[in-house]
């Protein structure tokens, strides 16, 4: 600890150079945090997917509907604990840009299936008592400043009401939160019975997709196969897969996001390595004479090596901390694209990764100059003071 002063004074030797190098490190880690959040937003759904949940959809096309009668049949399959469903409503609130999901569901089954959504008991009761009632996620409620009791008109081009209009009105009876920050709280959910009664006759009795909770997550794949077997050769064959795989499918549809993000970060940190490494090499070169003096006084080779490494690590760790901290603050402000990335948070595991990278960067940029400093012959060094 008593050497910290010495290390710090070395960094302060050329304040401008240290400041510029520090700024470069900060920018690199700012980017790191930012890209981590983007990657999480685009492909992170996999991590919060329920390990004990399966998604059942029409085998041919996700836009095909499945019969409501499948629910009973699925409940009878061994290993199935609970069945819930959702349907794509496709509504627009005022402007297509204000996109968020609105799905009709059966309230009790649905909330049991998704324990990660938290709704106060009295709001749940209100939902069960109100036919046209809907619950909405905290994010969307805050975005449009909705309160419980508001009547929300939603326009859907897909489902026409008996009176010919396409505007459905829902009563907000509850606002739900999620226990995990990475869970989406933008969708609105309303009652399936109201939905089924009101939609045109030829589309009644059909739902978009089912979720199944299995009794034993270890047997999820088995149960999935059993479900598909049940509906083989029927007019609507199914494709059942674990929720994680389903979300992963969407993520890979976007393209290899993880690869792109990692490549960009690779390029960034490579150049940072060059910049910082160069600054360190210069700094040590300038100090040859002083290092000789320290050795003459009695500092050991190990101590010289350690101090030089500590210097580069101090620089990168300080820059890393500030960069990650700044990116955390900016990311907490929310989605910068206005709706396209509903899940915009700083993924905490990446924070740890960032810390490790900062230390590694310090070691890699410092090791060669440190080694050279250590190997200096005292007499030669003193001559170059």
């Amino acid at each position: 600890m008593k050497f910290v002063y010495l290390i710090w004074s070395n960094l302060m030797r050329k304040k401008l150079r240290t400041a510029l190098t520090l700024l470069s490190v900060i920018v690199a880690f700012l980017l790191f945090g930012f890209l981590a959040a983007i990657r999480q937003a685009l492909v992170g759904g996999v991590e919060v997917a329920g390990a004990d949940r399966l998604v059942v959809r029409d085998k041919v096309s996700i836009i095909n509907l499945l019969p409501y009668t499948y629910k009973e049949r699925m409940l009878r399959i061994p290993g199935v604990e609970l069945v819930a469903h959702q349907t794509w409503f496709g509504g627009i609130y005022q402007d297509p840009k204000n996109f968020f999901m609105q799905n009709p569901v059966e309230p009790e089954d649905f909330m049991k299936m998704h324990p990660e959504l938290k709704l106060p008991a009295e709001e749940m009761k209100a939902w069960l008592d109100t036919r046209t009632g809907a619950i909405v996620g905290r994010k969307t409620a805050e975005r449009f400043h909705w309160k419980i009791g508001d009547k929300i008109p939603i326009n859907t081009p897909i489902w026409r009401k008996p009176d010919g209009s396409q505007t459905w009105t829902f009563d907000i009876v509850g606002i739900y939160d999620a226990s995990d920050k990475r869970t989406d709280t933008t969708p609105l959910f309303f009652r399936y019975d109201y939905f089924d009664e009101t939609r045109p006759a030829r589309s009644k009795g059909q739902v978009g997709w089912y979720s199944i909770r299995v009794k034993d997550p270890a047997r999820a794949v088995e149960v999935a196969k059993a479900v598909d077997a049940e509906f083989e050769n029927s007019p609507n064959e199914t494709k059942t897969e674990p929720e994680g795989a389903f979300v992963q499918g969407f993520a890979s549809a976007l393209g290899n996001i993880t690869l792109i993000v990692r490549s960009i970060l690779g390029a960034v940190f490579f150049t940072l390595l060059l910049v910082t490494g160069n600054a360190m090499a210069q700094a040590v070169r300038e100090r040859t004479g002083e290092l000789g003096v320290l050795k003459a006084i009695g500092f050991t080779n190990g101590q010289i090596l350690g101090m030089t490494l500590a210097e580069s690590c101090l620089l990168t760790m300080l820059g890393g901390a500030v960069g990650l901290g700044l990116s955390w603050m900016i990311i907490s402000q929310g989605d910068p694209t206005g709706g396209l990335l509903p899940l915009f948070v700083f993924p905490v595991p990446d924070l740890a990764v960032g810390g490790v990278i900062a230390v590694a960067l310090g070691v890699v940029t410092g090791i060669v100059p440190a080694w050279q400093a250590m190997r200096l012959r005292v007499a030669d060094a003193l001559r170059r003071m």
């Binding site: 470069s24 041919v60 297509p96 064959e237 499918g249 969407f250 150049t271 060059l274 910049v275």
Partner: protein, 399 residues
Amino acid sequence: MTGVVNWLAQVISITKFGLLSIPQRRGAVAATILGIAGVVAVLVGVLSIATGFRRAMQVSGAPDAAVVLRSGADSEMVSGLSREETRVIADAPGIAHGAEGPLSSAELWVIINLPKRSTGTDVNVPLRGVEANAMKVRDGMKIVQGRMFDLGKNEVIVGTGAAGEFKGLEVGQTLKVGKNEWLVTGMFSADGGVAESEIWTDAHVLQELYRRGDSFQSVYTRLNSPADFQKFKDALTSNPQLSVKVERQSEFYLEQSEAMTKLITTLGVAIAALMALGAVFGCLNTMYSAVAARTREMATLRALGFGRGAILMSLLLESLMLAVAGGALGAAAAYFGFNGLQTSTMNFQTFSQVTFAFRVTIGLLAQGILWAALIGLCGGIFPAVRACRLQIAPALREL
């Protein structure tokens, strides 16, 4: 006049000295050039995704062609038109006529699942049902392998993009979708446009197999001339029997790609901007240390009579040259690495895959070099100012 020439001569000779000293500080110089190259490569690379995507969406849109959807629908998926309505639309004024009647194609499409070649996972691919005139109401369409499908049969033709990105779409193969089997009779190209991501078949066959009754989602028409669009549109929107939305094809495709393009462009620019900031710091570092190393040399030049302005200019020039060299390197890397790279992604708005190629345009390359020059300027100005403010006498003594 001789004053200016003299001044320029000074600038050139000082700059030459500067460049000659590069081998001595090659570490710092390499760091700066590579740093800037990195920024430009990332900028151009990411933006070329947006450009390529945009082009795929736009190239299909002929100016003398229109698309009609149900009013209020922002995509074909949520639009619905009855056969009667499509007939009324086909009879509207302004439509070009071919040998067999008006050049219009009533269409609908569904999403089917096919495995992506690169990941093996299933993705959403458009299966579009069209009428006989489908190829004539779009620009740049032609069959490149095999033949067009026969009407009334379970036959399909596939776009070159789709054939490249998804498994199971070779000419002569049978595509199994659910209970239905489709024979792939041919492959078509659309000049890189979005249609190349699709699989086409007879609209009537599709309607039957997917139980769509006699309803369509859209009507694509070819007009007599681009100027006829307004006439066409007015006739349809004022018709009490119809409730439709009429757009030029080019506008329609632009709309469909807006969200995606905006996302990629915003992200690309944001990332590159941050990287550029980092590059400015790196450049500043390099130039400051260059100035510091050559203090005595520059003081000597001043003592000999070289002007302050000339020194400032030459340092700026040096910084710019390094930066542009880095920019050119990055631009070249982006061009050779990315241009023409085939890929596909999911368009949020239509929920299905669009195949396209990365596209590095001259515009993007120019943009990249411009950014590099700006970085060089920002990174060089402060050190240059410091250099020309030196007091000569103390600087001459500096070891």
